[in-house]
């Protein structure tokens, strides 16, 4: 029993850690896609931010400056995406693919030249990272069964960016549903004509949306290389940007359901490590690859319309050409 609780708690703590970049990216994608800009370059932006953040944090010795660097590069790539999709009416998916591939190559090329470690960045010293924060009384309370360790390991003991990610879900929810900007954001994704007729610039609104997307992916990338790990490793985003995209769709382009989907996918990831070789009664041994593939399979099942209907913003991916 004691063991089971320990396993459950460390799995949950793992879930929180793995879900954090997913949640940040899902919120990023939500802003972009709600404004009508398809963004499959979450992956690339996160990878670029991870690289720059780790490099900058190493050179300056400050995690905060690293975070700034990560956000800058991700916003820069977002603006490039916006330049292609909003200004030049380019194909959103093509532009996203271009950014993903460009970043995947460039991070290694520059990493090799700048840091001479085969594409890795040097290991960051502790003071240049975001370290776990321990909440008050975590030690004292950990004696209490179940609740104590839960408080100490699942609630407390994460780094700042983890808490930031969860706070940003609330902020996203508020911005999208309760502010004037959010109303216009949702409108421009559904019917840019109406927004334009109301005298609001579709272009500017969409540029703001992709910039917010850049900021959030920047934080996500920084989390990967400066908080969760202590250096940048090539391809370290490892498809998480795509999982976040899937989670956002799973949450039907809404903040809180998207976060829950991220937590579910994160949980699957945390569990898959534990389930290796375990024989489940009645089913037999579940291949670990099946559990790893489950987020993607579930998303396809959702898109097939078997779990509710995922309806994208209406004007998504359609360039807005003002009538003259």
């Amino acid at each position: 029993m004691e063991d089971l609780i320990n396993i459950a708690i460390s799995t949950l703590a793992g879930t929180v850690r793995v879900s954090t970049p997913l949640i940040l990216c899902a919120m990023a994608g939500l802003f972009s896609e709600r404004s009508g800009i398809i963004d499959i370059s979450l992956e690339g932006k996160m990878l670029a931010a991870a690289f720059v953040a780790a490099g900058v944090a190493y050179v300056t010795g400050s995690a905060w400056v690293g975070l700034g660097g990560g956000i800058l590069i991700a916003v820069g790539l977002s603006l490039l995406h916006g330049f292609a999709c909003i200004t030049h009416n380019g194909n959103h998916v093509v532009s996203g693919v271009a950014i993903n591939i460009l970043v995947s190559g460039l991070t290694v090329v520059l990493g090799v030249v700048w840091f001479h470690q085969g594409g890795q960045t040097p290991t960051l010293p502790q003071e240049a990272r975001f370290l776990p924060i321990h909440f008050p009384l975590a030690e004292t309370l950990s004696e209490i069964p179940v609740i104590g360790p839960f408080y100490a390991k699942v609630i407390s003991g994460h780094n700042l960016l983890v808490y930031l990610a969860f706070a940003l879900v609330a902020v996203t929810s508020w911005v999208v549903y309760k502010t004037r900007f959010g109303l216009r954001l949702r409108a421009v994704g559904e019917n840019p004509n109406a927004v334009d007729t109301a005298g609001i610039s579709v272009t500017f609104l969409r540029y703001r949306a992709v910039m917010i997307c850049g900021i959030l992916t920047g934080i996500a990338g920084t989390y990967l290389s400066v908080a969760q790990n202590a250096s940048f490793v090539r391809e370290m985003s490892a498809g998480q940007g795509y999982i976040a995209l899937a989670a956002m769709i799973f949450g039907k382009w809404r903040p809180v359901p998207a976060m829950l989907a991220c937590l579910m996918f994160g949980f699957l990831d945390a569990v898959s490590i534990r389930l290796q070789g375990v024989v489940l009664p009645g089913i037999g041994e579940v291949p670990v690859q099946f559990i790893q593939a489950l987020p993607y399979i579930l998303t396809v099942v959702l898109l097939a319309g078997f779990i509710g209907k995922a309806i994208a913003p209406k004007a998504i991916g359609v360039p807005y050409v003002k009538e003259r």
Binding site: G90, S95, G105, V300
Partner: protein
């Protein structure tokens, strides 16, 4: 924008000049990256071209990469003509290779080569098509977006192959997750062997008979898209789906057909790699060729001739890039990946960025000789 009515650009400018300018822009930015890492772009270019053609093996390697890019480029192009974005070439090629591998593992000791070859071709096509069937069905009949579902299927293919190779197909006697090597009669002959039959001695390279099949596929795609009723319907759906519907074309069926062919073409990468080069099923043999297909197709303007040229360019980049990474330690092989990203960006997403300027230039050139006439 001005209110003046501009003449449309001549066809050659649209078909050749704009793509050329876009490629040059991409290469220009790539040159800037070379400068940024402290090397000489022209020296790099020289090594790259020498590496792609300069010595005996290099041409074979270049054409071997080209073969893969023709398959994936055609795959993306056929879907593009129906206005669909098949981003799942990676997964379809992987599963296509699985199909080839399974048929050869089952029959390699039994059937002669001339019977195995058509079976392998069919298996590659069938498995590639099967892997795109679900996303295609969901796109056609349930309205989910093909881009998202094919991305998901890339990952599912990755985990499926991982499972199959580690737990099922792996040859018992070895550690690494690979199948056993096929019997000799199940190998696609290498090009140096084929040329050897005619008494021409060449260096041993991975280039193999799949190249001929790639050429056949190019011709097939050209005929299919531009010379058949199905191709006409496919292009109509791609241009304007509702118009196609009014004309009585079942656009959903067309979506299925377009993606099915696309998947089959991507599957042939599996034939080149599994039957032609490695002679066994192994992990990650697709190595990004599926994504490169997007760049190839965009660069080649979705036309077989363009795709062959673009594939050749990427073959040069891959082979020359490998040589470059070998010669100058500052370069890594990923440099080619970065160039690929730039080409997709300029040829795909920013295709018409410079069009207004070129139109303006043409307008100036045409109106300059007789300015008075324009005034009147």
């Amino acid at each position: 924008m001005s209110t003046k009515v501009k003449k449309p650009l001549p066809v050659w400018a649209d078909v050749a000049l704009i793509p050329l300018i876009n490629i040059l822009l991409a290469l220009f930015v790539a040159g800037l990256i070379v400068l940024a890492i402290g090397e000489d772009p022209f020296e790099a270019l020289e090594i790259l071209i020498l590496g792609a053609f300069g010595y005996e093996e290099s041409l074979g390697y270049t054409l071997y990469y080209t073969t893969n890019f023709i398959f994936t480029g055609l795959a993306v192009a056929v879907a593009f003509h129906a206005s669909l974005f098949n981003i799942g070439g990676e997964g379809q090629a992987y599963i296509g290779g699985l199909g080839v591998g399974l048929i050869l593992l089952a029959l390699d000791g039994i059937l002669p080569f001339w019977m195995l070859l058509p079976l392998a071709i069919m298996a590659a096509a069938l498995f590639g098509t099967a892997w795109v069937a679900v996303p295609a069905y969901l796109q056609a009949y349930r309205g989910s977006h093909i881009v998202i579902t094919t991305i998901m299927f890339n990952f599912i293919a990755y985990f499926l192959m991982n499972y199959l190779l580690v737990d099922v197909i792996k040859a018992p006697a070895q550690m690494s997750p690979e199948s056993r090597v096929f019997a000799d009669n199940a190998h696609m002959p290498f090009m140096h062997e084929i040329l050897g039959w005619f008494g021409i001695e060449t260096a041993a390279t991975p280039l193999n008979g799949s190249l001929f099949w790639a050429v056949v596929c190019c011709i097939f795609v050209w005929i299919f898209i531009w010379r058949t009723r199905w191709g006409y319907m496919l292009r109509t759906v791609g241009q304007n789906e509702s118009a196609a519907q009014y004309a009585g074309i079942d656009s959903r069926k067309i979506v299925m057909v377009a993606l099915g062919i696309s998947g089959a073409l991507a599957g042939f990468v599996g034939m080149n790699e599994v039957m032609g080069v490695h002679h066994k099923v192994l992990l990650n043999f697709v190595a990004g060729y599926g994504f490169t297909g997007i760049a190839v197709s965009l660069m080649g303007r979705n036309h077989p001739v363009g795709i062959v040229l673009a594939s050749l360019l990427f073959g040069i980049l891959y082979q020359g890039g490998a040589e470059l990474a070998f010669e100058i330690p500052a370069f890594s092989r990923e440099f080619v990946v970065a160039i690929q990203g730039l080409i997709i960006l300029f040829c795909g997403a920013l295709t018409y960025m410079c069009k207004p300027w070129i139109e303006g230039l043409f307008y100036m050139l045409q109106s300059d000789p007789k300015p008075a006439e324009k005034e009147a």
